[in-house]
C-alpha cells in the first residue's frame, strides 16, 4: 500500500475550467452521480455473471477465482451483449428523444380533439 491517499487522488480534478453543459451546477452534479451509479450497477451485474459462470463450471467459487476469471470468446460476447442491453435500457429516454427529433408530431390533445370531432 503506498502512502498516498489513492482514493482521494483518483478522483482529483483535471486543471481547466469545466464547460457548463446543463445550465446549473446541481444538474451537473446529479448527472455525474447518476452515471457513476449506472456504472457501478454494471460492475455488479458483471460480477454476478462471473459468479454464475464459475458455479456452472466448477460448482464452487472463491474470491481468487473471481479475480482470476477471464471470459473466453463466447462468454465475453455474451457479457458484452449484457452490458450493451443494460446501457440501452438506462439510456432509453435519450434514444427516444433522438427518435422524436425525426418526426414532427402534434400534441396528443390535438389528436384527441380531432378524433372526437371527426
Amino acid at each position: 500500500m503506498s502512502d498516498i491517499d489513492y482514493i482521494l487522488r483518483a478522483g482529483a480534478r483535471a486543471k481547466g475550467k469545466r464547460p457548463d453543459f446543463l445550465g446549473d451546477p446541481s444538474s451537473e452534479r446529479m448527472l455525474s452521480i447518476l452515471l457513476a451509479v449506472v456504472g457501478e450497477v454494471s460492475v455488479l451485474k458483471e460480477r454476478l455473471d462471473t459468479v454464475e459462470r464459475l458455479l456452472d463450471s466448477k460448482g464452487t467459487i472463491s474470491r481468487a477465482d473471481i479475480e482470476k476469471y477471464q471470459p473466453d470468446r463466447d462468454a465475453a460476447y455474451q457479457r458484452g451483449l449484457m452490458t450493451k442491453e443494460y446501457i440501452a435500457r438506462v439510456m432509453r429516454g435519450v434514444q427516444q428523444e433522438m427518435e422524436a427529433m425525426q418526426t414532427d408530431e402534434k400534441p396528443v390533445a390535438d389528436i384527441s380533439v380531432d378524433l372526437r370531432d371527426n
Binding site: A10, A14, R79
Partner: protein, 400 residues
C-alpha cells in the same frame, strides 16, 4: 447482433510486465465505459446531426438569414441545443470516470509499479532523463484530455503514475479500436512501410512526443537493426514507456527527455526517418512549425518524414463535420486541437524545407487482431476525433 457490435472485454488487453493489474471490478468498470463510449458515438451520436439539421440550422437561418460561416458558429448554436448539451455532458462524464478508474487502479498499486519500472530502468543506457527540461507552456495550460496532472504530473517524485494511467485506460476511450497493446497505429505504419519500401531498413528513426511509446515499439520490433530514439518532455511517461518497451523486447529503442523545439543535440541529416504520431495537436501555433523545422533539419536526404493525425479540416470537409471533430477541443481539454486541424500542414512542411513535390498524404487505419478487436468505424457512426483512422502527412526529403 453482429460480433463486432459488441466491444471486446478488458481482459483482452495484453498485460505486459509493467501493466497495472486490474481487479475484477476495475476491469468491469472499463468494460462499462467501453460500451458506454460506443453507445454515445455509435447509437446516439447521429442525434447531434439530427438536432442540427432539424432545428439548430433552421433556427440559425431564421435568425441570421444565412448559413453558419464556420465551425465556431455551429458550435455556439449547438451549445444552446438541449440534446447536444446532454450528450456532451454524458461524454465528458465518461472521460472523467475513465480517469478516475485508471488512476484508482494505478495509485493503489503505485509502489509495486514503480518498483517494477525501476527493475527495467535502473542504470540502463536506453533511458536518459534530464530534470532541466521544462514542461512547455502548451502542456501546462490545462490537463490534457482531463488527465489530472497531464503527462508530466507525479503523485510522488520519480513515479510512473501518469504513464500507467495513460496506458491502462486508452482501451476504454477508443472502445478497443487500437488493439491489445493499444499500438494499432504503429502496427499500421509497419505494414505501410513494408508495402511502400519493401526491403528498406532505416538506419536511425526519431519519434517525437512518444508518450509511452505505443506507436514506436512496433517499429523497433519490426526493425531490430535500426537505432531508434524516442523523445518526450515528460519524465513519468518516459519512465513507464522505457520499462514497457524493455518488457516487450524492444531493446534498440532509446528514450530521451528532450524538448523537440530544440534538437541541436543531433547533427543535420542524422535520422532517415522522423515521425510524430497523434502529437501535433497538443502543441501551439509557434511550437508546431518550429518542431517541424527541426525535424526536417535532422532528416537525412532521401529520408522519410511522417506525421500521423486525425484528418485536417479543409474546404471540402462539411462545416458540421468540422464542428463535431472539434468536440474534444472544447469539452475534453485539447486547446490546440481546433487551430491545429485548420492549419495547412502541407504549407508548414513546405516552409520547413520539404517541397510539395516531395510530399504525400495517405490514409491509415489501425491494424488490430480482427478476431478480437473491432475494425474502426468511419462515417456517421465514427467517434470523431478518436477513431483509429488517421491521415499520414508525409514527405520524402529530396536528395539535394
Amino acid at each position: 447482433m453482429k460480433r463486432e457490435d459488441v466491444p471486446p472485454p478488458y481482459t483482452a488487453v495484453t498485460r505486459h510486465e509493467v501493466f497495472p493489474t486490474p481487479t475484477h471490478d476495475e476491469a468491469a468498470r472499463f468494460n462499462f465505459l467501453t460500451a458506454f463510449n460506443k453507445y454515445l458515438s455509435g447509437v446516439v451520436g447521429p442525434g447531434n446531426k439530427l438536432a442540427y439539421e432539424k432545428r439548430v440550422l433552421p433556427a440559425f437561418r431564421a435568425e441570421h438569414q444565412r448559413d453558419p460561416k464556420d465551425r465556431f458558429e455551429i458550435r455556439h448554436a449547438m451549445n444552446k441545443d438541449p440534446w447536444h448539451r446532454f450528450w456532451s455532458a454524458c461524454k465528458r462524464n465518461s472521460m472523467e470516470m475513465r480517469q478516475q478508474n485508471g488512476r484508482s487502479m494505478v495509485l493503489r498499486q503505485l509502489e509495486a509499479l514503480d518498483a517494477k519500472a525501476r527493475e527495467f530502468n535502473a542504470d540502463r543506457p536506453t533511458l536518459e532523463l534530464n530534470p532541466s527540461v521544462a514542461t512547455p507552456r502548451y502542456q501546462n495550460a490545462v490537463d490534457i484530455h482531463c488527465m489530472p496532472g497531464s503527462y508530466h504530473g507525479e503523485e510522488r517524485p520519480g513515479d510512473v503514475s501518469a504513464g500507467a494511467n495513460y496506458d491502462c485506460g486508452i482501451f476504454a476511450t477508443t472502445a478497443g479500436g487500437l488493439g491489445a497493446l493499444s499500438d494499432g497505429g504503429g502496427q499500421a505504419l509497419v505494414e505501410w512501410i513494408k508495402r511502400e519500401r519493401p526491403g528498406w531498413t532505416p538506419k536511425r528513426i526519431l519519434d517525437v512526443g512518444c508518450t509511452i511509446g505505443h506507436n514506436i515499439v512496433p517499429l523497433a520490433l519490426a526493425f531490430p537493426e535500426t537505432e531508434i530514439i524516442a523523445i518526450d518532455t515528460a519524465a513519468p511517461v518516459l519512465r513507464y514507456g522505457h520499462a514497457r518497451a524493455q518488457a516487450l523486447g524492444a531493446k534498440n529503442l532509446k528514450f530521451i527527455q528532450m524538448n523537440a523545439e530544440d534538437l541541436s543535440r543531433f547533427p543535420d541529416g542524422h535520422f532517415d526517418w522522423v515521425q510524430t504520431t497523434m502529437f501535433l495537436h497538443e502543441l501551439s501555433g509557434k511550437a508546431l512549425p518550429q518542431i517541424i523545422r527541426e525535424g526536417v533539419r535532422v532528416l537525412a536526404p532521401g529520408g522519410l518524414m511522417l506525421h500521423l493525425e486525425q484528418p485536417q479540416y479543409s474546404d471540402e470537409m462539411p462545416l458540421y463535420e468540422q464542428f463535431i471533430r472539434d468536440w474534444d477541443a472544447f469539452n475534453n481539454n485539447e486547446p490546440f486541437w481546433s487551430a491545429m486541424h485548420a492549419m495547412d500542414l502541407k504549407k508548414v512542411i513546405e516552409a520547413a524545407g520539404l517541397p510539395r513535390s516531395s510530399q504525400f498524404v495517405t490514409g491509415v487505419r489501425a491494424v488490430v487482431d480482427p478476431t478480437v478487436f473491432p475494425v474502426a468505424a468511419s462515417g456517421e457512426k465514427e467517434d470523431h476525433g478518436r477513431a483509429a483512422v488517421w491521415n499520414a502527412y508525409g514527405a520524402w526529403k529530396p536528395q539535394s
